[in-house]
């Protein structure tokens, strides 16, 4: 590898210097930088700057490529290049020199080289491969500063694929005597964990060591890793809770060296990090939370100095207290703290106080009530951010009573807000609130009108879509629907009579759809048609909106309404250059003349009937067969046409665009190969056919045709209604009526002090209307969480969607299931007398159980005679064993195993694991490895007294192909018996662990349908089979495979036979086939079930085993490498 780098680096300057003008470089570099900066600051226009920088870049280019430039001069040049890049000009020619400088320079020059590399390149840049060797060298350097530099650059950017190359060296640094090195190594490993978690899985216990490091700095660095890992999987680190608490206790208690104090606060950043970790660990976990209470209390108490950083700690403390299992004393203190934040005069603290309030208000709405006056003040604060945070808080406390006031406040903010991001966010929230809590029709329509006007083209497209859906689906009462739609029509008509030119396009589209669908509720269709026609005439109307308008007119044109208007429109757009508009105009013309056809195509008020689309276009069959008979060519789908075209093009007319360096690096990245000469050649040959194929497809110009006459083509008449739309102009607003708000105010229940000055009184009034409903009942309706509030616009439950929603979802906790499984199948045995009659009773129950499903299904054949010989033996052992609590497991397994279908006799099933459990049904599963497949067997045990019907199991997996073995689908489970179903699994996409997720739905007699979800995990090794090949075959296959990975593994033993021993372990554990061992090298082969081979080449090298895996299947080598590593470690 190093050879190539060396060659490239030595060759490049000479290549580049071909166009350089002179080789002589004598320069006073520092002044050059000064000149450049001075030059830039004196500039007056962007254009001048461009010229100056281009000049500068040319001169840098000249000098870097000259062979006479010393590394010292190079360093200065790099700083100048960094400058140009920072100003946004590309200096890509200098990238390779930055890498070179990092490699060849010493001390500060090296440092600048690394700096330039980290600023110039990003993680996926191909030149980074050239840096690997340098990093390797520096990691092994005796100079501590060089090691530090290497670690820093590694944590900033490192190609993911090359991590294995340096991983052992970085790991080694965890034991380095200098703590700064250890600390940086921990952070570098953290970076690896982020970009390639699989690679560092084996060093988790080293992280633990770092957490216990004697240097607090190293420990602090490891907290980053733990924060991340705990966030991903809080359950896995519960055992560390007390350690973190102890650490925090020590930190808070001032046990750390004085160096760690900041403004006499002990290690504040460490405290913050620890508090965040504790919050995650204590969430929904009472026992963990209880360990924390004391230290949290102490943290609150200690953080009393009035300094910014103590507030940072307090804030985290408060958040933690509100996240973990609540304790009233602490909550009280935390509430007081939040009060201090909110009331603080420091604006930063006020902001955080509001954030904290927003966070806690769902649990403790009274707190918002306490600070209502402050919140009102914040609503009028000059800082928009504070205002927005306040609105966010109000959004969380909205209920049916205060909705109109809060929405009014939000709209007020929206009208002055300029920031797109906030607008989009807030518009969505207003729409959500309006849909949920609207007090009446008028308010709803008017609010939504405002939302559409303000949101304009920026808002999420699902807002208008769901609004239209709501209108068309209607609610429970027909009369209400009519009123709502009529009001919508009326208000839109009056909007169009005003200044429609100022409305955003998307709003106009909504308006035209509503008018088209529901104008029939009004009398004068003529007027509506004229208004719509006016829209068409406006120049600001986009052509997309125009086609919506034309659609609306088509819907309205029946019954002789507006004949003249329609004729005019048809004339204008019937010859439009826009084909879509022209088509719509033609439709309009035909349908307006043929009333009968119109009634069939566009039935009135049928917005909610689902459309039936004949996607196979079977009604055209007659036409097609006629055409074929007349000699027409049969239809070919586009992809087939493309393929044929590509095939007919035998000669590649594309230029060979590949030059050596590019192809080398690109293919080596794609194929995950190290840049050796071998991989260059194979990459090149592998790439060329691919390119010519691509060339073939790109030259085809079928796009234009497809777009207009695509599969969706003509049929999509009604579709524009559903499509997301784009609008251009935002414009002023129709303000929603205050009526709702006033009505609420009169209803308000919050007591208001009477004697207050006028402005104060206004605020009080506002407060009472904002916080109404918060005080009255303790269970507040927050964000629709409370079911008791009647939602005005609750959607009708429709169609098949309703049944899963109505059925109970039972989530299962994997932790508790083992015990229930034991309970389920073992209770018979445990409760009965253990000694003499145990075997008898269990035998009885087993046979009873196994007869059950056989009789019930008649499908899964359980042969009692065959399985029973195993049983008495098990039972005998169990009965003889002195400790009875071992029994249930063996018994349960034995009893379930007796239910395995007969074809599996002789195979060794995996342990039977419980999937999920509830009162009546228990689901358990195991898998069995067969020669060419893996079978998953699911046992369903019915512990209730009644039969359970309509069991439906649906299994799915991202990585696996799951198919039900025919005839084994279970439909019912008789009471107290076991039903069995069987699936066969094949691998779709290799992954370290594969998972089958499933859902079972079933129905108990006289109960609602229920469903349960479960998942079953199995390692990839279950799918690995030995592959018997000869050494020659192996050699031939090796060259063909494109995906590979390399890694060094630890040897099992040090002796002479270490290679054989290690391979033996792998053979046994992973089911591999050892093809041959020659000296220090060994070749091994395996396959993934039937036909996905993977080859392994091992070599003893300096006391470790270098393993190289190759396969035609992407990801397979990586996954297998992981399992090899695990197998050797466990051993």
């Amino acid at each position: 590898m190093s050879d190539v780098v060396e060659k490239t680096l030595t060759a490049l300057p000479s290549l580049l210097s071909l166009d350089s003008l002179s080789g002589s470089t004598t320069l006073s570099s520092t002044s050059k930088l000064g000149n450049l900066i001075r030059g830039i600051t004196e500039l007056t226009s962007k254009h001048e700057e461009e010229k100056l920088i281009q000049r500068e870049l040319t001169s840098i280019k000249e000098q870097v490529s000259s062979p006479n430039t010393s590394t010292r001069q190079m360093k200065e040049l790099m700083v100048r290049a960094i400058y140009c890049e920072m100003l946004g000009y590309e200096a890509s020619f200098s990238y390779i020199h930055a890498i070179k400088l990092a490699q060849q320079g010493t001390g500060l020059e090296k440092r600048v080289g690394y700096l330039a590399v980290s600023l110039f390149l990003n993680e996926s840049h191909e030149l980074l491969l050239l840096l690997v060797n340098t990093v390797l060298k520096d990691l092994q350097s005796t100079n501590l500063i060089e090691v530090c530099m290497a670690l820093t650059v590694v944590s900033q950017m490192f190609p993911k694929d090359m991590i294995p190359a340096i991983l052992p060296l970085v790991e080694e640094k965890l034991n380095h005597p200098k703590e700064i090195i250890r600390r940086k190594a921990v952070l570098a490993l953290y970076k690896f964990y982020l970009i390639a978690p699989n690679q560092v899985q084996h060093i988790h216990n080293k992280f633990r060591k770092a957490l216990c490091d004697k240097d607090p700095g190293v420990m602090a660095a490891s907290l980053h890793i733990y924060f991340q890992m705990i966030q991903e999987n809080p359950e896995g680190y519960k055992d560390l809770t007390s350690s973190f608490v102890t650490i925090l206790k020590q930190v808070v208690g001032g046990k750390l060296p004085m160096d760690f104090n900041y403004h006499s606060v002990p290690a504040p950043w460490m405290q913050i990090q620890l508090l965040r970790i504790l919050a995650i660990l204590g969430r929904n976990d009472q026992s963990s939370s209880e360990i924390m209470y004391e230290v949290l209390d102490e943290s609150l108490r200690r953080a009393e100095i009035n300094h910014n950083i103590t507030y940072a700690i307090l804030y985290e403390c408060v958040k933690c207290i509100y996240t973990i299992h609540p304790k009233s004393e602490l909550l009280e203190k935390a509430a007081k703290c939040i009060g201090n934040f909110v009331l603080s005069l420091k604006i930063n603290l006020k902001y955080l106080g509001l954030k904290a309030l927003t966070y806690v208000v769902q649990q403790d709405p009274k707190l918002a009530l306490q600070h209502q006056m402050t919140i009102i003040e914040c609503l009028d604060h000059s800082d928009l951010l504070i205002k927005r945070e306040t609105l966010e808080l109000l959004f969380r406390i909205t209920n049916a009573q205060n909705v109109s006031v809060i929405v009014e406040k939000m709209l007020e903010f929206l009208r002055v807000n300029k920031d797109d991001y906030t607008t989009i966010d807030l518009v969505g929230k207003v729409a959500e609130l309006a849909e949920k809590y609207a007090p009446d029709n008028e308010w709803f329509i008017e609010t939504m009108s405002t939302v559409f006007s303000v949101g304009g083209d920026k808002m999420q497209p699902d807002i208008p879509n769901s609004f239209l859906k709501l209108l068309s689906e209607g609610f429970d009462s027909v009369e209400e629907d009519r009123k709502l739609r009529l009001f919508a029509v009326d208000s839109y008509v009056s909007l169009l009579q005003g200044e429609p030119g100022k409305l955003p396009q998307r709003f106009l589209q909504v308006i035209s759809w509503v008018l088209g669908e529901y104008s029939y509720l009004r009398e004068e269709l003529d007027a509506v048609l004229r208004l719509l026609a006016n829209l068409l005439d406006m120049r600001s109307t986009s052509s997309e909106t125009k086609s919506w308008v034309l659609m609306a007119m088509t819907k309205l044109c029946g019954g002789g309404a507006g004949v003249s208007v329609i004729r005019e429109v048809c004339e204008t757009y019937g010859s439009s250059l826009d084909t879509v508009l022209r088509q719509r105009a033609q439709e309009l013309q035909h349908l307006s003349q043929d009333c009968e056809l119109r009634a069939r195509v566009l039935p009135r008020g049928a917005g909610l009937e689902p459309l039936e689309v004949d996607s196979s276009l079977s009604f055209l069959d007659g036409f097609v067969s006629e055409a074929l008979a007349a000699g027409a060519a049969p239809y070919k789908p586009p992809h087939q046409r493309q393929e044929e075209l590509a095939q007919t093009k035998a000669l590649s007319l594309e230029p060979y665009g590949l030059s050596l360096p590019i192809s080398m690096s690109s293919c080596s990245i794609a194929d995950r190969q190290s840049p050796t000469l071998l991989s260059v050649s194979s990459g090149l040959s592998g790439e060329s056919p691919d390119l010519s194929h691509k060339g073939g497809t790109t030259t085809l110009k079928l796009d234009g045709v497809k777009r207009v006459w695509g599969r969706e083509g003509y049929l999509s008449q009604r579709e524009p209604v559903e499509e997301p739309v784009h609008v251009e102009v935002p414009s002023p607003v129709v303000s929603p009526s205050q009526r709702g708000g006033e009505a609420d105010r009169s209803h308000s229940q919050t007591p208001t002090p009477t004697a207050t000055p006028q402005p104060e009184q206004e605020k009080q009034q506002l407060a009472s209307s904002l916080f109404v409903g918060l005080a009255s009942q303790s269970s507040v309706c927050l964000m629709g969480k409370s079911e008791s509030t009647t939602q005005r616009f609750r959607r009708k439950a429709r169609g098949p969607v309703s049944s899963p929603a109505a059925s109970e979802q039972i989530s299962n906790s994997p932790v508790s299931t083992p015990s229930t499984a034991n309970h389920l199948l073992g209770n018979n045995f445990l409760d009965s007398n253990i000694t003499s009659d145990l075997s008898v009773s269990s035998l009885e129950s087993t046979s009873q159980l196994s007869r059950g499903p056989a009789a019930a299904n008649g499908i899964c054949e359980v042969e009692l005679t065959e399985s029973s010989p195993a049983l008495p033996r098990d039972n005998a052992v169990a009965a003889a064993a002195p400790a009875p609590h071992q029994d249930p497991d063996t018994l349960k397994d034995a009893c379930l195993r007796s239910h395995l279908p007969a074809e599996f006799s002789g195979l060794c099933p995996s342990d039977i694991t419980p999937l999920c459990t509830n009162q009546t049904l228990d689901f358990l599963a195991c898998h069995l490895q067969k020669e060419d497949s893996v079978s998953l067997v699911v046992f369903i045990y019915n512990s209730s007294d009644s039969d359970i019907q309509q069991i439906l199991l649906e299994l799915d997996s991202d990585e696996l192909e799951v198919s039900c073995v025919c005839g084994s689908a279970v439909q019912e489970a008789r009471s107290h018996s076991v039903a069995v179903c069987q699936y066969s699994l094949t691998v779709k996409r290799p992954s370290v662990h594969v998972e089958v997720v499933g859902m079972a739905s079933y129905r108990c007699p006289a109960e609602t349908p229920q469903s349960a979800r479960f998942s079953y995990k199995l390692p990839l090794t279950s799918f690995i089979r030995p592959l018997t090949v000869s050494t020659e075959e192996y050699g031939a296959m090796w060259l063909d495979f494109s995906h590979d990975t390399k890694q060094k593994l630890t040897l099992r033993s040090d002796g002479r036979e270490s290679l054989a021993d290690t391979l033996d372990v792998l053979k046994k554990k992973l089911n591999l086939h050892v093809v041959e061992i020659i000296g220090t090298e060994g070749i091994v082969a395996c396959r993934l079930l039937r036909d996905q081979p993977c080859l392994m080449h091992c070599r003893l090298h300096e006391g470790s085993l270098s393993v190289w895996l190759r396969s035609p299947v992407p990801d397979l080598p990586d996954c297998l490498m992981y399992h090899c590593q695990r197998a050797l470690q466990e051993h």
Partner: protein
């Protein structure tokens, strides 16, 4: 757009909209980088003195999870872009530590120092924040590290003079 946790980037911006220090810890393309800097300067420079030091999720900096936290010193703005895994007030003080450290290293730091010694500024920052994670917050410790490197440079210079 920005995906990794911790501190996504830091930019020190002068009134002239002339960026001085821009380590970006998260992968972005060159174009968006420039756009982010422009946008950030635009946002930060128009904020009053009496508003809070935080700015929330613009589209450009990666949405609601990211915030800008800035401090204003004379002609310079120091802006950190962080995700929700960092404490707002903690970062504010981190900026303070950074500036104090710069002040010590350059003896009364000014805008020109940052511009002329961009590499040194980067070195100091690399000792504080590594790959987007806070590494060291103790000013003395940072200075010790930076000094040890400077010493190495000096000894090199001496060698060359010999």
């Amino acid at each position: 757009m920005l995906t990794e946790p911790g501190i996504a980037s830091l930019a020190a911006l002068a009134y002239t909209n002339f960026p001085s220090v821009i380590p970006i810890y998260v992968m972005t393309s060159e174009d968006t980088e420039q756009q982010i800097i422009r946008e950030t300067f635009h946002l930060v420079s128009k904020r009053d003195e009496n508003v809070c030091n935080f700015l929330e999720g613009g589209m450009l900096i990666g949405g609601s999870d990211y915030r800008l936290i800035y401090r204003h010193y004379a002609t310079l703005y120091f802006v950190f872009c962080v995700d929700s895994s960092e404490s707002e007030l903690g970062i504010l003080d981190l900026i303070q530590v950074f500036v104090e450290t710069l002040d010590k290293c350059f003896e009364n730091v000014c805008e020109l120092d940052l511009i002329f010694h961009v590499d040194k500024v980067h070195n100091i920052l690399a000792e504080m924040v590594m790959g987007g994670m806070v590494l060291e917050t103790n000013m003395n410790e940072i200075i010790t590290q930076v000094d040890s490197q400077n010493k190495m440079e000096k000894s090199e210079l001496d060698e060359k003079m010999w």
